[in-house]
């Protein structure tokens, strides 16, 4: 059976299965288990109302538990076992990781990524959002800067591999160097700085995201505050830094944390550009090199990533709860 055909059947089974489940479960609840008639009608209706939310939630809760909650526990548990998964070795995988130079390098690089990428993407996003705010062709400019968001990390890596190509007749960076009379170089192999050349790719992608959200926030600033500042004689820079930025600080933090979380998860760019060589390894790509080889260590790396993400997760939950009240 060809996968395409299988796919069509899956869509049908999935969609009709879902609809059928919800419909049948409701019917069962209302007509058979707690029918709204007979001597206990009042009690039955109340019970049906109490059960119904769980009927609606059941498929989602099942899927979330199996695909996201179980793995958190399962990965941690697996990381306590050796390569074959047969022998319990406690925290030895973690010990081995922290003794490993590549892992420490990956941790350091990851910290660099988590500092630089969100900062730069937010900065450029804010810059573009502010500059295009009152521009006639602002929407076109925003669309074009937003476009890399649609491109896969693999596609983006290829695009930038071409930019960084060592041949001055291919890579535009080396063409510029050639024009200035400098020798061609391979940016991907320059120790330490190559990390930043890889980060440029993610910044290129994420600036659009930051721009869209910050642009909406800028539009949401009450006009009166801006007008008052202008009447008081604020110049455009004061207007931006002292009036606008403080008012959208909350959104800036949101953008920053969202990109930070993304940075901690993206392995594609390093994987396609360098495969982790030349001192560019980061945790997610390091995990992929271990995956299928030593599941114990691979899961240990995943747990480390989880621990790094944890504070942001808690902060997010707090924010969401505050918003709900």
């Amino acid at each position: 059976m060809s996968p395409l055909f299988q796919g069509i059947i899956t869509i049908l089974v999935g969609v009709f299965g879902c609809v059928g489940y919800f419909y049948a479960a409701n019917l069962l609840l209302d007509k058979v288990i707690f029918p709204a008639r007979g001597p206990n009608i009042g009690r039955n209706i109340n019970r049906a109302t109490a059960v119904r939310p769980w009927l609606f939630l059941l498929p989602a809760i099942l899927a979330l538990s199996v695909y996201l909650v179980y793995p958190v526990v399962g990965s941690f548990w697996r990381s306590l076992f050796n390569r074959s998964g047969e022998e319990f070795i406690g925290m030895d995988n973690y010990g081995a990781l922290f003794a490993d130079d590549v892992f420490r390098q990956a941790l350091f690089n990851n910290a660099l990524w988590a500092l630089v990428v969100p900062a730069a993407a937010t900065f450029f996003g804010l810059l573009v959002a502010q500059l295009t705010d009152r521009l006639k062709w602002g929407n076109i400019a925003k669309s074009l800067i937003f476009m890399p968001m649609a491109i896969s990390f693999v596609g983006a890596s290829l695009i930038w591999k071409f930019v960084y190509a060592g041949d001055p007749d291919i890579g535009i960076i080396n063409a510029v160097r050639d024009g200035l009379g400098l020798d061609p170089m391979d940016p991907i192999q320059v120790p330490f700085w190559n990390n930043f050349f890889l980060m440029a790719i993610l910044i290129w992608i994420q600036t659009g995201f930051a721009m869209v959200i910050l642009s909406a926030a800028l539009r949401g600033i009450p006009e009166e505050t801006v007008e008052a500042a202008i009447i008081d004689g604020a110049n455009p820079f004061q207007l931006f830094f002292k009036i606008k930025v403080p008012q959208i600080m909350g959104t800036i933090v949101v953008v920053w944390t969202t990109i930070t979380i993304l940075v901690l998860k993206v392995f594609d760019i390093v994987y396609t550009m360098t495969g982790g060589n030349f001192g560019t390894q980061i945790l997610p790509s390091y995990m992929m090199t271990l995956m299928f080889r030593d599941d114990g260590r691979a899961t240990a790396v995943a747990v480390v990533i989880m621990v790094v993400v944890l504070p942001v997760m808690i902060w997010n939950i707090r924010q969401a709860q505050k918003e709900m009240r």
């Binding site: 299988q6 899956t10 869509i11 969609v15 879902c18 919800f22 419909y23 769980w54 498929p59 989602a60 979330l64 199996v66 695909y67 996201l68 793995p71 958190v72 399962g74 697996r78 573009v128 295009t132 602002g138 400019a141 476009m147 968001m149 491109i151 990390f153 693999v154 596609g155 290829l158 695009i159 071409f162 930019v163 190509a165 041949d167 007749d169 535009i172 063409a175 290129w204 909406a216 007008e227 959104t251 953008v255 969202t258 979380i261 998860k265 392995f267 594609d268 396609t272 997610p284 691979a298 990533i305 989880m306 993400v309 997760m313 997010n316 939950i317 924010q319 709860q321 918003e323 709900m324």
Partner: protein, 407 residues
């Protein structure tokens, strides 16, 4: 308000120019690869893509075989036109190239400028004009196959779809011509061979069920979380927000083991289920946020009129939530289409079931590392669909982004 204060003309100019520069900087990488995907392999290595609209100087070699040698006294003379000679006739079929230099040895193929007379290895002379006409003289009878001539010609830009056809069918132009001579159509080649077209179809196969299925599951859950009262609701919402940021890396090993244990293994079914699970937190979060904002009056009115929750959901909430459903659908589509990690782990690793991102990252970048035309074409085959979706549905995408980030 623009002109009240603090805004002046020079500042406006500075803003326009800065934005223009930023846009150009953001576009250059993509444009470069895009232009290159239409260029011939030789042209890509000979000049940068920014010179693509101009002629490229390439060197060729040929034999002066388009005219028979004739004898004038002691001298043998061959006269003809280089562009008509056997080895290069195909390359110059269009006929608007011009010769800039020529030579008689492979070591120095551009020793003499066009229009000047050079000395050949047989002790005679060789003259090649810019338009390709040449005159070869020698005291000995030339090689029967025709004397060797090297030349550099400014070749006009040549934009073709050849790279795309090659990458889609995994056959070079010559191989395609051979198969087509045997009666195969281009469509046969697309479906027959190990080309990237197969991976393109696979990507669709993964993407569409993985986009459609989570929507329904999430919509019901989101309704319950938004409009139904039950103990533990706040806790569940918090859990969904928390699960939004769980790194997928955690899921890989335990879930693959689970899939292997229950017999799904690495398969399309497995990746559909995985994408469904991974997409749910965002779907529930987005849809709940949207549904909470729907007017309470409508829903309570319907309840007073005797509608059940199921009816309220299907008849009122679902149609009203269309914008949010569309936002999530676009998100999930882009994310599953562009995903490399989940596809690498949950799909079998044979060529026939790879999706495009895996094929490009794992096969093409290795085996076709320097063949930029091919790589570029492959990249744009994979980029085209999400970019089209992006530009047609941008409105919904932006709305989704605004609703989806935790505020």
């Amino acid at each position: 308000m623009d002109n009240i204060a603090g805004q002046n003309n020079s500042l406006k100019w500075a803003v326009n120019i800065t934005v223009a520069l930023l846009v150009v900087a953001w576009l250059i990488p993509t444009v470069g690869l895009f232009v290159s995907s239409f260029r011939d392999r030789d042209q890509i290595t000979a000049s940068g893509w920014w010179l693509a609209p101009f002629s490229v100087e390439l060197t060729y070699r040929t034999r002066a075989d388009d005219a028979a040698p004739r004898q004038e006294g002691d001298l043998w003379i061959v006269e003809g036109n280089i562009f008509g000679t056997g080895e290069v006739a195909d390359a110059f079929a269009s006929g608007d190239a011009s010769i800039t230099a020529f030579g008689v040895t492979g070591r120095d193929p551009a020793a003499f400028a066009a229009g000047t007379e050079g000395e050949n290895r047989d002790g005679g002379t060789l003259l090649v004009m810019a338009d390709g006409s040449y005159r070869y003289t020698s005291t000995e009878e030339p090689d029967a196959r025709g004397p060797r001539i090297y030349f550099a010609a400014a070749t006009p830009p040549d934009f073709t779809m050849d790279n795309y056809q090659t990458i889609l069918t995994a056959q070079t132009a010559d191989e395609r011509a051979a198969s087509q001579a045997q009666g195969a159509t281009f469509w046969d080649l697309l479906f027959d061979e190990e080309g990237i077209f197969r991976n393109f179809v696979n990507t669709f196969t993964v993407t569409i069920p993985a986009t459609v299925i989570p929507i329904l599951i999430a919509a019901f859950a989101a309704y319950a979380l938004a409009w139904m009262d039950f103990p533990g609701r706040g806790l569940l919402i918090a859990a969904v927000v928390g699960l939004l940021v769980v790194p997928l890396q955690l899921a890989l090993v335990p879930l693959l083991n689970l899939h292997n244990r229950i017999g799904i293994g690495q398969s399309f079914l497995g990746i559909w289920m995985a994408h469904t699970g991974f997409g749910l937190p965002l779907a529930i979060y987005l849809l709940r946020n949207y549904m909470v904002g729907l007017p309470r009056d409508i829903i309570e009115g319907a309840k007073v009129d005797g509608a059940t929750d199921f009816q309220i959901f299907t008849k009122i909430i679902l149609p009203l939530s269309f914008p949010a459903l569309a936002s999530f659908a676009i998100f999930q589509f882009l994310w599953t289409w562009n995903d490399l990690l989940v596809a690498k782990v949950f799909l079998p690793s044979d060529d026939a079931s790879k999706v495009m991102t895996v094929r490009i990252a794992d096969d093409l970048l290795g085996s076709r590392g320097g063949d930029w035309g091919i790589l570029a074409a492959a990249a744009f085959v994979s980029i085209a669909v999400p970019v089209i979706v992006f530009f047609t549905m941008q409105r919904f995408l932006v709305r989704g982004l605004l609703a989806g980030s935790v505020k």
